[in-house]
Symmetry: C2
Subunit: 424 residues, 2 copies
């Protein structure tokens, strides 16, 4: 059997499992999730041993210590993974929710009801905890999952999936609801992307190049996630203390994530008052500012040592994911909106202002998944939004936009009940 056929066979198994899983009660799904959590704890030694092989491989490949630390599992981390599974069991079941319902003039009763998407493929990089997390979120929302993790975590992911499947064998959920995509390398991703009709949606989570490849080549519908060139705009009416606090938080609190700020825009009217103090605080926090001419004019002598360097065109579109930020002075609110439209990635933008009119105009004209008024860009997050969990942050406009919780892993169907109604 070729690799492509092997992937399709696994996807067909997922499809069968999805059909059995879709009508299960919340109680049955929660019992399966708790069995999964118990099994992770019971068999943590096995998972940690498999993880040791990945760690060994990473060490011998000369991976950075930080990467090896992120990859590593121990008793406490496995317990953390199991706890996250239990938390997902506590969340409300999105399936069966009546989204709208009314009686039509002819007496037909119409209900639009949430149903699972079916088979969800998740392609991810990063830590092995994503494996259990993604499997739990898809299971809770009634979907079968096909997992394609990073090769650097292959042994860890395989061990986790084996434990989860064994746990499901004792429950009403078919083990094939949780499967790894067989095969290694880019080819298995390619076969997954061509499995239209068997896979209902693909969610790539990871770097921009992975996401770009999936978006370009997949015939299976894709939900794009994660690239964020987020802006903080300091309006002419801003409270500058608030502006500084939000800017520093948005840039510095966790620079490696997609909702961190990557560009600062400052209204010309407050540039003199704001930029000197903002640049000093950014420098103290270790941030390098890639400034336009006006921003650079507030530095003693623009240089790395000074924490301010001249921006080039490319800086306006860059997602640094590091202690760097692009910065420009804009002549007006509309110029800020135009800059964001031209260079932004429509993830999250924040305005800092005391003006109701400015906030209203910014909110109306900035078309991003998250629009923050006097709040840090870092709040665009499923946990912060109160969703209880998140499978990713969609940066596309179709199906789901922004943080995706359990309802975003569902579709709907219309159930229409009559007593012999025909159309005339």
């Amino acid at each position: 059997m070729g690799d492509a056929e092997h992937v399709r066979q696994v996807a067909r198994g997922a499809r069968e499992a999805a059909a059995a899983l879709a009508p299960l009660s919340r109680a049955a799904k929660d019992a399966a999730l708790r069995a999964m959590a118990d099994a992770l704890v019971d068999r943590s030694a096995e998972i940690i041993a498999a993880n040791g092989r990945d760690i060994e491989h990473a060490r011998s490949s000369g991976e950075a210590a930080a990467m090896i630390d992120r990859l590593g599992l121990n008793e406490a981390r496995v317990r953390g993974i199991a706890d996250a599974v239990r938390e997902i069991a506590e969340l409300p079941d999105p399936v069966g929710e009546v989204v709208r319902g009314y009686t039509l003039p002819n007496g037909l009763e119409l209900r639009q009801v949430r149903v699972p998407l079916g088979v969800v493929g998740i392609i991810y990089e990063g830590r092995p905890n994503v494996t259990a997390d993604a499997a739990s979120l898809t299971l809770k929302s009634g979907n079968a999952v096909l997992l394609r993790g990073s090769s650097s975590a292959y042994h860890s992911n395989s061990a986790i999936v084996a434990v989860l499947r064994d746990a499901l064998a004792g429950t009403e959920v078919p083990p094939d609801a949780v499967q790894m995509v067989p095969g290694a390398g880019r080819d298995s991703v390619k076969h997954l992307m061509r499995a239209r009709g068997l896979v209902d949606v693909l969610i790539p989570r990871g770097g921009a190049s992975l996401i770009q490849t999936v978006v370009e080549e997949s015939t299976v519908p894709v939900i794009e996630t994660g690239v964020g060139n987020c802006h903080v705009y300091v309006d002419s009416d801003a409270d500058l203390d608030v502006a500084e606090r939000i800017l520093i938080n948005a840039k510095v609190q966790r620079p490696s994530v997609c909702n961190a700020a990557e560009t600062l825009l400052v209204h010309a009217a407050v540039a003199d008052a704001f930029l000197p103090r903002a640049l000093a605080t950014l420098r103290a926090a270790g941030v390098t500012v890639h400034g336009d001419e006006r921003v650079c004019s507030y530095a003693d002598s623009p240089s790395d040592a000074d924490g301010v360097v001249p921006a080039v065109e490319e800086d306006w579109t860059t997602e640094y994911l590091s202690l760097d930020i692009a910065a420009a002075v804009v002549p007006s609110l509309d110029a800020a909106i135009e800059h964001i439209r031209r260079y932004g990635s429509a993830h999250t933008e924040a305005i800092v202002t005391r003006s109701q009119a400015a906030a209203r105009r910014f909110v109306a004209n900035v078309d991003s998944a998250g629009v923050m008024v006097n709040a840090s860009t870092r709040f665009t997050d499923g946990g912060e939004f109160g969703f209880g969990a998140e499978i990713g942050i969609s940066t596309q406009k179709l199906h789901a936009r922004g943080p995706m919780g359990l309802p975003e892993l569902t579709s709907t169907k219309y159930v229409v009940t009559g007593d012999g109604h025909i159309r005339t």
Copy 2:
């Protein structure tokens, strides 16, 4: 300028127009729609003259009379098109609707608000009224539209679009919110399908092969519409009078549309009681039944003259769109569900039963956009569902499923308001 670049240029114009259109008030959009309707009536002579060229071309190409009739426009039909535009102006504006909203524990106020998708591409076959209809629905939902109609209606569509754009010139809506895709033939569709980043979604409306091509080749996200292999299942507990009425309505009332029934499934326990009368009624209505062995056993001698012919495997997946229906006897409700899962297109399926348990089981296990209990499959329709209008019927699970009204032409964004909130 090459064709591809020409399409991209038009799409960039649409993008600009979409940004201007998105924040407009309902009043501004409705005024534009009424101006469009007035202009269609005022300039009907021009539209009818252009239509004459399409009719002439269709005649000289030897098109069927029925096709020519569908293509033809006269004063009354143009007035009908204008009235439909006015009706869309009367519908509520989906943009700005707060889908969910609450205050987070930290005091942040979160609102998920409907926003336009942006630029919508519509590829369609069929009658020129679709041109004005699609332009109105997209405009009302705040989107710019790129229209790619059938070449058989090229002159009619061009005239209608010219009239609509002229009308917009006197309103707050930029004329580039309504544009035709330049170029002819399959190539211009191809360029449209590759305009990812400029076009937010493509909605192909038409035959299965058009839709298949778009789905396979587009890098722009697609909403699949329209293919319907709809089933009517007559349960062991069915009221046979109701079953016959629904079957005939679903098959005969308008056989050429996607929500017409294409397969009849009958529970074995009522086959003797139901099939003889059903076959007689279907024959009287001019329907040819493609029956399995058991169904054929109720015919005197299976033949075209008898209205019953033996089914082949392919019949179970065929969308006839004609006075034909596939028919099989199934041993159980579960066998009917399994048949639908295997052969269906997940558009609409109906169960006829007096049993609450059977209805519940069918609804839970049949995963189609529309699931009808004791009602005709023909009800899956935006108008019948009370949406006021419909851009198509989605048969995919992502973003929209079933009849698509105005809300389905929108996305959402999260607006989060604080007073200097930062993440800790």
